[in-house]
Amino acid sequence: MKKIYSKKTKLSQTITSIALNNRASTVFLILISVIFLTLSILDPTKINPLRSTTTDIVSPVITFVSRPFEVIAQTITSVSGIASLRAENKSLQAENARLREWYQTALMLQAENQSLHKLLNVKIDNQHNYFTTRVISDVSNNFVKTIIINSGLSEGAKQNQAVLSGEGMIGRVIEPGQNTSRVLLLTDINSRLPVLIEGTNQKAILVGNNSDTPILRHLAKDAGIIAGSRIVTSGDGGIFPPNLPIGTIDRSLDGEVKVKLHSDIDNISFVRIVDTSLSKNLIRSQ
């Protein structure tokens, strides 16, 4: 009887010690997490190297896992697209004919523009090179809007380079890793971009709000905004080149001017990065 009792006591002691150790390890892990959390809130740049290195390592796995889903999605899209192929072909032929006319007009205007520039001795902005890369993963969620692209420092990606889809600007490089980079989308709540409203010469700041339609801030009261006006980068600050297409003014509600982006940010497979160097007059933050 005594033996059984002592065995039971031993067992309960062991269980208690394991439980206590478990509790201690939990508290310890939570404490470490809170320390990291505080550090990454107070100074996110300290954590960036760790973040970009880990993303470099993990992104091939994400690409591998996402491949079957991409194939399924492409198959569904192509099967559903067959039905509308004929109608689409017809409309594309019409659009092509119209664009040919515009192409001739554009060539004529370009020649005229060049001769006028020469005549006025205007200092022409540097031409920018682009390089194209694939979107590895759309890691956007309810609170953060970012994507990961398959180019890093080794391919020439640098911080604050503008990122464009086929239709227009979608964001900027914020964390260039060795082989991959993180792009902050224009829709993210932390995104701020100096823009220009074509036609009116009004400048404003495009502010992300985590929805598909970012808003314009710091507009003049008598700006005379018209729905459908084109928005382009203003080039103010010297970080982004001017005149990159962004979107059009969608509507003005409750004093907020919403912008409809040219690009469908949720469905981007390839992006172009504007290979531009920062102005020499800009001082890099430490």
């Binding site: 939570i30 997490s33 796995v61 956007s140 969620n141 309810n142 993180r182 469905n267």
Partner: protein, 170 residues
């Protein structure tokens, strides 16, 4: 050495590895770029696994494993690092402590508890991000996340149950 590689142990190891792989796949599903989405939100696949296995087989997880996954998620998504490690470890230990109570409930009540846990997790995220960015985030994507997560959970349970039966009782 021979006992470690005994056929029975190896068999159990394969089965446990199957569950761990499923958990990892659900974790990775959260990062996919699926171009047929019509609304931008994420379904909390990993949280479904965390809830189910914390209640029915907590030994599959450990604090360090969840710490590592939470850490990895924050790094990849771009959240402040450590946020999800705190959430996952806390949820795991609360669920583990209450598992006998939860297991004694009917399936409907368990589903309600899961729904409340999802609301609590999303609310914590919302409060945290609103505080650090000093502005309120919209509720619409959170609502979609909540609705889809709780609607898909019963189907995920249908997947978890046969896998659960494969596992050893101890």
């Amino acid at each position: 050495m021979t006992s470690f590689f005994s056929s029975e142990k190896l068999d159990w190891s394969w089965r446990i590895l199957l569950v761990q792989s499923l958990i990892l796949v659900l974790f990775l599903l959260g990062f996919l770029n699926i171009p047929i989405s019509f609304v931008e939100f994420k379904i909390l696949f990993f949280f479904m696994a965390l809830f189910y296995w914390s209640v029915y087989r907590p030994s599959l997880f450990s604090g360090i494993f969840l710490f590592f996954l939470g850490f990895l998620q924050d790094i990849i998504i771009g959240y402040p690092i450590g946020l999800h490690a705190v959430f996952y470890i806390t949820f795991y230990f609360i669920l583990k402590a209450q598992r006998t109570f939860i297991m004694a409930q009917t399936y409907f009540v368990q589903w309600l508890i899961f729904s409340l846990s999802v609301i609590f997790l999303l609310a914590c995220e919302w409060i945290f991000f609103s505080l650090i960015s000093l502005q309120f985030f919209g509720f619409e994507p959170l609502l979609w996340s909540f609705v889809f997560t709780i609607c898909i959970y019963p189907f995920m349970v249908l997947l978890f149950i046969p896998i659960h039966k494969l596992l050893p009782t101890n």
